[in-house]
Subunit: 100 residues, 2 copies
DNA sequence: AAAAGTACTTTGTTGTTCAAAGTTAAATAT
DNA sequence: ATATTTAACTTTGAACAACAAAGTACTTTT
């Protein structure tokens, strides 16, 4: 019996990064504060998880202004999307195995 | 939009524990050395992850002899099985969200 | 001028993961 | 009889990850 978690991605092992990526793949962009509220995180903690995903080039950052307020938006990159897709496939396979 | 990872279980956040649990739920029991080979782990590392699952009462241990050699077998408990089921459901929901 | 908002960074503590080495006890080989 | 091996750990120590809280820089609102 083979346990196929080959495509399992360390960057998504953490629950919070899994959630962030899930949001960013489902919504073409999401800003810092909305993410912070949605996931109920301190800003420092959110920033560091975002940075980890940025380091992997799984997300991109866009700094703009809404009215006169700074607004930082995050987007899943193509690289991030496909890495995430593979990761979910790995999880899906694991789930499927359980159902046989 | 709600991100439903409510049933996400910290005990299964780690890749190795996820694999162990996956094996133990699919096979009614598995012994230490087979698990060690299957997952390619040092014995110390495997032992500590097994201990973590034992502490949660997600697995049970049975010490027997095969011939004259000691043989330690691990089994998923009912508690472990249902916790794992809920965890996989949480992941499944996450995956489903992506596909909408 | 003071307070508040945005988006961080820094600091320091705590937690997690791991390999490697050590342990115990029995079994087998020399 | 002694040495080596196997099984199944435990202990140690180091590296890394996660987190809250506090600090920062800059701007805007009051």
């Amino acid at each position: 019996m083979k346990i196929s978690l080959d495509q399992f991605d360390k960057a998504f092992e953490n629950r919070i990064r899994l959630q962030i990526m899930s949001v960013l793949v489902a919504n073409e962009s999401y800003d810092f504060n909305s993410l912070k509220e949605l996931l109920n995180l301190t800003d420092g903690n959110l920033a560091s998880h975002l940075k980890a995903l940025e380091k992997e080039e799984y997300i991109q950052v866009e700094k703009t202004f809404i009215g006169r307020k700074p607004n930082t938006r995050y987007l899943a990159s193509e690289k991030g999307r496909s890495a995430f897709r593979l990761h979910l496939l790995a999880l899906e396979n694991l789930i499927k195995q359980q159902k046989l």
